[in-house]
């Protein structure tokens, strides 16, 4: 059994897209109820690593995964596991907000309806919107189109939609890159609050964002053959103030690009 405070354990993970190796020998654990940031230069495999946590790479042609990704001790890549079932435990938020062209209410209720939710739908929708810090802004117009919301509100709606199905983990791939600074800070604040009940893994190009929101940070870079490797993984406070590895130091101080 993995320690109870780890939600994911990645062991010797390797990923290829066709002949190209995208990730090599990644080992790390993701702590429960914490925000873990994955940083690194473009092409280092940050998003690939994130997509391994909910088997999104299965959807990419030619992608091959070796190694283990244990969710609460169970390998999600074992043949016995249904990827759809895995994804229902793991919410995902993307770079651009992608609400459905439906009302605000229906966006949040969607996953619940698909799962045949038997409880009180109104209560569940309100609870999710509250947890996503969006309720006060939309409670008067729940049945209006979600597409009329601002970008930052749409992103929080996507988070609410993910929360509605009660995931254990929320994966975020550059969730703020399309948002203005105020909307960004709201999402960051929300992430800190959500980390009390969920485990969050975020990929970000913005190092300051990683420094602000995360508890743990993983720094990936490319080896000579361009395969992504994990250089350093540790507490965010330590990694940004006194990194152990020269490669990390050079990257976060802008001495290497």
């Amino acid at each position: 059994m993995p320690p109870a405070n780890d939600v994911f354990e990645v062991k010797k993970l390797n990923v290829w897209y066709g002949n190209f190796q995208s990730l090599r020998d990644i080992n790390l654990t993701i702590k429960r109820h914490a925000v873990t940031a994955i940083i690194g230069p473009s092409g280092c495999g940050k998003s690939t690593l994130l997509r391994c946590f909910n088997r999104m790479n299965d959807l990419v042609n030619g992608a091959r995964v070796a190694g283990e990704v244990l969710l609460n001790g169970q390998d999600i890549y074992s043949p016995a596991v249904d990827p759809t079932e895995i994804r229902s435990h793991i919410g995902m938020v993307f770079q651009k907000p992608n609400p459905f062209p439906k009302s605000i209410f229906e966006n949040v209720a969607f996953g619940l309806r698909v799962n045949g939710y038997q409880g009180n739908l109104e209560e569940a929708v309100e609870s999710s919107l509250r947890r996503a810090a969006l309720w006060e802004e939309v409670k008067e117009r729940l049945h209006k189109s979600a597409l009329a919301l601002s970008g930052g509100q749409q992103q929080r709606l996507c988070i609410a939609r993910g929360l509605a199905v009660e995931p254990e983990v929320i994966l975020m791939d550059e969730p703020c890159s399309a948002l203005d600074p105020v909307a960004t800070l709201k999402i960051e604040d929300l992430m800190r609050n959500l980390a009390e009940s969920y485990s969050i893994v975020i990929v970000t190009h913005n190092m300051q964002q990683a420094a602000r929101v995360s508890d743990m940070t993983a720094f990936l870079t490319m080896a000579d053959d361009r395969a992504g490797i994990l250089v350093e993984y540790g507490t965010t406070a330590e990694l940004f103030s006194n990194p152990r590895d020269k490669l990390t130091e050079d990257y976060i101080t802008g001495r290497f690009g």
Partner: protein, 222 residues
């Protein structure tokens, strides 16, 4: 490939400023001892007035550090370098205050005849200045080994202080009429002893900047 060239150039400029401020303070210390030796009240007055320039230099450097933090979000060794400088300029400024303190004692002494020729007090000043100068070399060269070494040399200044104290005590025991003059010289020596202690603080900051570890080095006997 270095990316943040502008930022790193500014960081080097700040370190150059610290060096300039260090030179101002070194000069104030050695001039204060000259003023003491020569009973030069005019020079003592200049040192007291010049302390304002040192204080202003400190604010100027502090301002530059704050601006770099606010606008550049420095990380890792860059962040430690700026935080280190912020601490170091406080200590340099205080060393300047000790020089000013000596100048004020010179004014107090006025044209009283010297109690004895100055021997150990100038040696203390020289040593403290040398330690300050080399601690700022260590800062600029990112040299934690030298910084630790320099901090250890504080013992030499402490020993000199002890020697000065004991010697002046014999004067006071022999002839109570010397008490005022001897006490003032002890104040001078005390200022110098404190200056060297400040240098050990600077050395601790250099070690932190280089290694990321906060450690107490060279605990003073006084």
């Amino acid at each position: 490939m270095e990316i943040r060239t502008v930022f790193h150039k500014k960081l080097r400029e700040i370190q150059d400023d610290v060096r300039v401020m260090g030179s101002m303070v070194e000069q104030a210390t050695s001039r204060s001892i000259e003023a003491l030796r020569e009973r030069d009240l005019k020079r003592a007055g200049e040192i007291i007035a010049d302390d304002l320039k040192i204080n202003r230099k400190r604010f100027e450097i502090e301002e530059k550090c704050v601006q770099l933090i606010a606008t550049q979000q420095p990380m890792a060794s860059d962040l430690r370098a700026i935080i280190g400088v912020l601490n170091i300029i406080t200590d340099i400024e205080r060393i300047g205050d000790h020089a000013e303190g000596i100048a004020k004692i010179v004014v107090m002494i006025g044209d009283e005849p010297p109690l004895k020729p100055l021997v150990d007090i100038p040696r203390m000043a020289e040593k403290a200045n040398d330690m300050l100068h080399r601690s700022l070399d260590a800062l600029i060269n990112h040299d934690a080994t030298s910084a630790r070494q320099i901090a250890a040399e504080d013992d030499e200044v402490d020993n000199l202080y002890n020697q000065v104290f004991r010697e002046l005590l014999t004067f006071m025991l022999d002839d109570p009429k010397t008490i005022t003059r001897a006490t003032r010289l002890i104040w001078v020596a005390h200022n110098l002893e404190r200056s060297a202690d400040r240098v050990t603080n600077i050395c601790e900051r250099v070690v932190y900047m280089v290694t990321g570890k906060m450690e107490e080095i060279g605990v003073s006997k006084y």
